[in-house]
Subunit: 359 residues, 4 copies
């Protein structure tokens, strides 16, 4: 089922970059949830292009219009459908046959026999993350009522690193603070250098990639299952649905490859009458199940595929080799706008898995 995710709280995302509407149907919402639309809008605004160096010139208002499942300010419990308009489209930038390296035109062409909507990447576009963020904002509200918060920052852009989270002691305050920043960073120290890095790439007609670190705080121990229904399995399948994600690691992540067991294992201790871990190399997850520590993971985002530097490609219609300079409006670095997308995905997965366990 192509664009459906979840077992209990499910999302079904539809739309294309330049179609009239994009949106999402959410099944399995609990009923009677008061949605704070201002808060949802604020979450969505974090993803919107805002005139920064790193943002596309395309501007969409992205004001969610809920057409079902919402009555008198509360969820009904039956499917909620939300629509967004595509208003600021310039479809003439996209011709049939164009095959931008790093984009899905070639693979989409084979998969759909040449019938995929080519305008702005169609259903493959990063634009489709807007309804994902809406669903995540809804999930986040429900999680907050359970004392669960996500905190997300840019851990790297093109070799410039932000301070990592302390895996044991991330706080709601950090979650709140990061939500207010256009460039979500633990330490402002690297901000200028990161921005410079993006500006340099932009002025060279190039782009840069990066990495995002996300933590989910307050999830009780015991969520998830061994093997196929582990939190890593369920979360990874949604995180890798986000365009441009190419790597995912939990806790100490890649560093595990070089560690000894005696360094990697998280020793247990008592915290009052509760068992807790002293360290959090496992990123809150052992055997696919939460241990009550923050769930922490890192996601690598590849550089924006759209660059104006000349590239070698083959036109899908003419089958001729050609040199391409990508037109259209794009982000020289998608990482800052991907921050709320990754956070939204985390909220959706965790809520789905908690509801499954009766929370």
């Amino acid at each position: 089922m192509s664009s459906i995710y979840g077992h209990t709280f499910t999302i079904d995302i539809f739309g294309e970059s330049h179609g009239s509407n994009i949106g999402v149907v959410i099944n399995g919402l609990p009923s009677g949830v008061k949605l704070d639309m201002d808060k949802i809008q604020a979450f969505m605004d974090r993803r919107r292009a805002g005139g920064e160096t790193w943002s596309t010139k395309r501007r969409e208002a992205d004001i969610p219009r809920i057409v079902s499942g919402f009555y008198n300010g509360r969820t009904t419990g039956t499917p909620l459908c939300m629509l967004l308009d595509n208003a600021d489209t310039k479809s003439k930038d996209y011709q049939q046959g164009i095959n931008r390296p790093g984009h899905a035109e070639y693979t989409g062409n084979v998969r759909y026999g040449g019938f995929a909507d080519p305008r702005g990447g169609g259903h493959f576009s990063g634009r489709l993350t807007a309804p994902l963020v809406f669903a995540g904002a809804v999930a986040a509200q429900i999680l907050e009522d359970k004392g669960i918060y996500a905190a997300t920052h840019i851990s790297q852009i093109a070799g410039v690193f932000d301070n990592a989270f302390d895996l044991v002691s991330i706080t709601k305050q950090e979650s709140d603070r990061l939500k207010t920043m256009r460039l979500a960073l633990n330490s402002e120290g690297c901000k200028q250098k990161m921005e410079q890095c993006i500006m340099d790439a932009a002025s060279a007609g190039d782009s840069v990639g990066g990495e995002i670190e996300c933590a989910v705080l307050g999830v009780p121990a015991g969520i998830g299952s061994p093997m196929m229904d582990g939190v890593e399995s369920r979360l990874s399948s949604l995180i890798f649905s986000v365009p441009a994600v190419k790597a995912l690691s939990f806790g100490a992540g890649n560093a595990f490859a070089g560690m000894k067991g005696s360094e990697a294992n998280d020793a247990y201790t008592m915290d009052g009458d509760k068992i807790t871990a002293k360290t959090n190399n496992n990123g809150g997850l052992i055997g696919g199940i939460t241990n009550g520590m923050p769930i922490v993971f890192r996601t690598v985002i590849k550089p924006t595929a759209s660059i104006s530097l000349p590239q070698q490609t083959v036109n899908l219609v003419s089958k001729q080799q050609e040199t391409l300079k990508v037109q259209g409006r794009h982000d020289p670095c998608i990482v800052p706008r991907a921050v709320p997308v990754i956070e939204a995905a985390a909220c959706i997965c965790i809520l789905d898995m908690m509801m499954e366990r009766g929370h």
Copy 2:
């Protein structure tokens, strides 16, 4: 659904480390497939402990017994159930309440209210990868008939690195050669150093982690779908089901974070009358869909949690802090035996996704 994976070709794994049997039910097998049981046994033997430094002393014959779905040497197309015996178990090594850091005793205890089978890790045990390997061996045979081969090697153990695959030009010969090696390496140059590294850890009562690189060759372009049914999404959910996996990356993987778009994008060219990519940073996958290049991914395996060095923990029954020296028989490094497990998982996922597209 806890231990079920797949849409069309599905596996349902059951059993515990010290129960009478472990096994797998495979649904959706094509009918009429001749299974070469010797080849399946050879695949399973790659996972078996074989007396090497890095292997547990527990020895299981692991001879698959097929009880359904197989008639006159061919698959019937109806569910195939395969059983393995647990013969060499020493359950007295495991007491109720034991809480080994890095293992799932604590999380499993919360999840299952104290009723999970504690012997040898129960359903959380790496032993459960044996039926996964069986299913992967079956899938591999079907894929080979379509000209698809997997090649897998140890890319790192504890800071000792093997040569990486050339992302563009991996061959069936490499796939064949790697299958014959107890320590699957592209270059023998690092072999001695890796073994030493494991032996050192073992003699110190410690363990080491590592990384595995896997490539799947010959998958046609056009397999997968955008978003939730992308190959990365589907593969990751199975790879993270394998115990001890903590990171997964595709193609250039983590290196994308530091790359420019002009370096990362894979330019297209014509190869005869076929469009092909010149490079393979995307690991054969763009927009969730195969582009005909090798599918390449890396998996980080954390160090074996079981170490005999003393560790701080809290007993689950007494709730008392205690110093634990893990008993039982374990691998000081699980990476070599995880190689066929990761390969099996890749074969299962790719076959499932190809069958879905009518292949």
Copy 3:
């Protein structure tokens, strides 16, 4: 997943009777399908209220607006979302707490804690069958290209019976003819009596039920699977999703209970070089799998729950017993308008199951 159906060709229906929009997201559509919108409209018009005795006074234009998955007159293969407007709503007819016997207000109230949209039945309304019919009309077009046609008639209304289908020899001509009739009947002989029956109920402030017989012609042998993925299992789960359906039978159906094996078994014979059955008591299905004969089933529709005769009930808010005379605009008999709904459901199921087998 509450309002999602299908494995390969999936539908996700959303909306409420009096919300701004209802609609459906279709995943898994083949790409490149030319949709004949006139034909789709004609299918939807069969369901619309048309001023007959048996129809509600509510009139909706029900002109489908496709917002995604459709480009240049053809399906793209990515999710197709279709919206319908709710224009002619009179929500003041519905007060909170109203509990109409035979309707889902009470059960919905318990299920959703009082937060379901009460206006016009909300998500429980028969109005939600409009997007189902759209999806069925799309499926029907794809099936017709494979030589598969559905034929559906009213087999009974309140004790007045139409001639049954000949289970062996239903034709495309009957399918075509039935699609043109407001009261879809094999024999016009019973038409006047049926209409009278409905008019009598209407003038008494009452309603009547009935039965619908549907046949799907041209489905090749070999579709379906034993046990849980049998055609009966998959079709029944969608047919019972249609509001007011309370019984379903295949082929000889209820008559099987009184038959002998020697009467019930369908003998085989050769038809040219093809094996075929001489009779069709099994309704085209044996062991969950099609045998190439028409798939034939009957569906019982309960009388419209909304009647203006006084009824005893308990108000959901006041918990007081009260005598209710249902207001609002309703069909004294829903059976004629349910004919295209049942046909749509059959087309959706059969297409889904055929695509699964690679057709």
Copy 4:
């Protein structure tokens, strides 16, 4: 997924009539459930052939062997696998190419390309209902702890009718009593006539069909969802998985077709401080959701396909028309032994749906 059922509590059934083993894997069992194996055996014994007129001469001990998910007398919460032996098989009765009318040999042959196991019907055999009954017996124990009981009787065999359940006031006592009877009947009055009816068919080399009525008592209001996840949808998909089932109706069922709304609607009243229905024409289900009344449904079982009277058929291998006299050991009437099967299916579905709602 061919032989998998359920969302939260799932069953995966495997095996063939004459293979070494048949069995079931249950995922999603709550942990810590004490299983009363005697009670499970008693449930399974209700399905076993017991030497009566209506039973096959094949005798299987059907003693369940649990190989996983069960430790120290309680469920662990991880997958439970149960195996049964096929001991009393006479495979020589079945030749390749045999095509018994009413059986699935022809459809299975097309579906599986001639590779299905032909012995005793293979995976299509009624033998596969034994593991279904095991899973149902497990579910029944869990339901009983919640005060939920199923009662099932033969409502008809070949035109001989038992008294129907009173839809409003079925009791646990009736449930208990019916479980003890080899011929489960509300009224003993029809017993002799039914038996005679079966004996007559048997001595004529023929078989008879019938109908089973099942009620589930004590299910709270609010289980289920509108549309695709309604109880009728979910239950029907499992009931139609049982071989030989050809019709299913809820509550007043087929009678609805001839009823008026004023007769069909179940009026509400107060029972203490609880809303309840005065009648139960809807069989406990409105809008797909339970209303707290008994869930009541009827299932039509076609006559046993295996009869020794000569039948016209076509051999699948030779493609020659031939006259067949079915060999092998069969039940002249499968209805009595289908009673616990239908009850098991009901228990599995209801438990699955209750667990989904957090019960």
